[in-house]
Subunit: 205 residues, 3 copies
């Protein structure tokens, strides 16, 4: 695929990822019977948190600061969540959409770090951070047990996508193919985790 | 008003805002019967948190790093709180002072982002972040329910000040007038919220 | 000591500090019977958190982003913690190792800020942040009461090391001597605090 097609596709995926995460943030606020302002704050933190941290760490301009649309999408999602019943969004649909966001973000975050000349291990971590940090900050501020403290396969799915993206780069494979395979592999793992309640083993003495 | 008068005025307002927020941080530590070191940490986090996050996001040098006085003011406030009984500061006085800091900061934060060429919606958010983030981080670390999770009109007052500041800029009105009106409007809303216990409606199915 | 000897020594100390803090993070996850992924996340947050915040604040490139080894050390420590019983690491040994990391980091953080031209008070704060922030973030995410909320002499030891480092710089004393004295003084205070359960007085009306 050539860049003229690829770049708009990536931008669109990016905005879709922001929107999905923003929705999960707004729904946490809705479930806790919060106000619209709180809902908007959670939509922003969850939608933008991971990418913001990645950009600060790799020294890139923070992605939503010079593009007014990204934050507007989060606010629009908060409005949508405010005017719709939460049951529209609950259950499988949201978990699956969240899985798409998680793994797409892990791939995008890793690819962005690699393109800034960051070495393999930190690039891998940037992918995981981009996918997971928004949700972790959302849960800490809401006072909920974070996804990080549950044995569920979640961060692991992001880690799979991020590591395949790094591996593809090291083997100098065609980027678009690598990215699609990496996102699909992580997503398949996350789907399997949701479907069969897969979880990692816990630490034992 | 010409810049020769305006700039020192803004600097002074800025320091006053830091001091007020630092005091609210130190008092949280005092109420929890903490040590002086904890009190100083809370004064710093609360006084400097919002502006620090704004500066990192817009790519400005962090405001208190190259000016030794700002952090010194926070430490001085922690000393003051340590040697005075909390009842001196409790109640209406502090809530009102906090309202001044909140809305002044929302205006200053928005104006600084606009001056860095940030578009309207992110500039608006920078104003809200500058006003509110210090208090949110203070509450999360102290393990208290954050202002974000209460229906009280608080973030909303900052949002009003920030949005009026952006609106004035879009209409190219005289800046000083816009800033004063924006700060007063937010502050009046916050005062009304304190006086009549105004709160936003909560989410309902 | 000349720079040819000093610089590798500092680099080695830095990596040792990262490793010790990473271990304390991994052990928090182990005690809570978490998975390997969570353990790795905590090792990274605790090992890298303080230095990352310092670098963002002073405008330096984040230290572990362009050096792939630092993050690899954290992941290696997480593996080590996963495959060993926690009792190997519990008790005095870890508290003492943590004290070494805390005070060495306070000195290194202060020295790095001074070398970036940051004034005395903010440089002092950078030292304290480098030493303490990783542990604070670890505790907030794990939902544990933070070291910041306990009267124990901990942050104070970092503050002693950081202030002596600043003082030595202001008096233009020989840097290596200052750093060693500052680290030893903070460490001695921390050891005394562990041995005799020293704590700071709490706020009283």
């Amino acid at each position: 695929m050539n860049p003229a097609v690829l770049t708009p596709l990536l931008d669109w995926l990016d905005l879709a990822g922001v929107a999905i995460f923003a929705l999960t943030g707004a729904l946490v606020a809705a479930r806790e019977k919060q106000t619209f302002v709180t809902m908007a704050f959670f939509a922003l933190i969850t939608g933008l948190g991971g990418g913001t941290m990645r950009d600060l760490f790799i020294g890139a301009p923070v992605f939503w600061i010079h593009d007014g649309w990204v934050a507007a999408v989060c606010l629009g999602i908060a409005l949508l969540a405010w005017f719709t019943p939460t049951r529209w969004w609950e259950g499988r649909f949201l978990a699956i959409a969240d899985g798409v966001g998680l793994t797409a973000y892990a791939v995008l975050g890793t690819a962005k770090a690699l393109s800034y000349g960051v070495p393999p291990i930190p690039s891998f971590l940037m992918g995981v951070i981009t996918g997971c940090v928004g949700g972790i900050v959302r849960d800490v501020i809401a006072g909920r047990p974070s996804i990080l403290m549950r044995p569920e396969l979640y961060v692991t799915a992001a880690a799979l996508s991020a590591s395949l993206t790094v591996l593809g780069e090291l083997l100098t494979l065609e980027r678009v193919v690598v990215w699609i395979v990496a996102a699909l592999a992580g997503f398949a793992l996350r789907l399997a985790a949701i479907g069969w309640q897969l979880s990692l083993p816990s630490y034992r003495e």
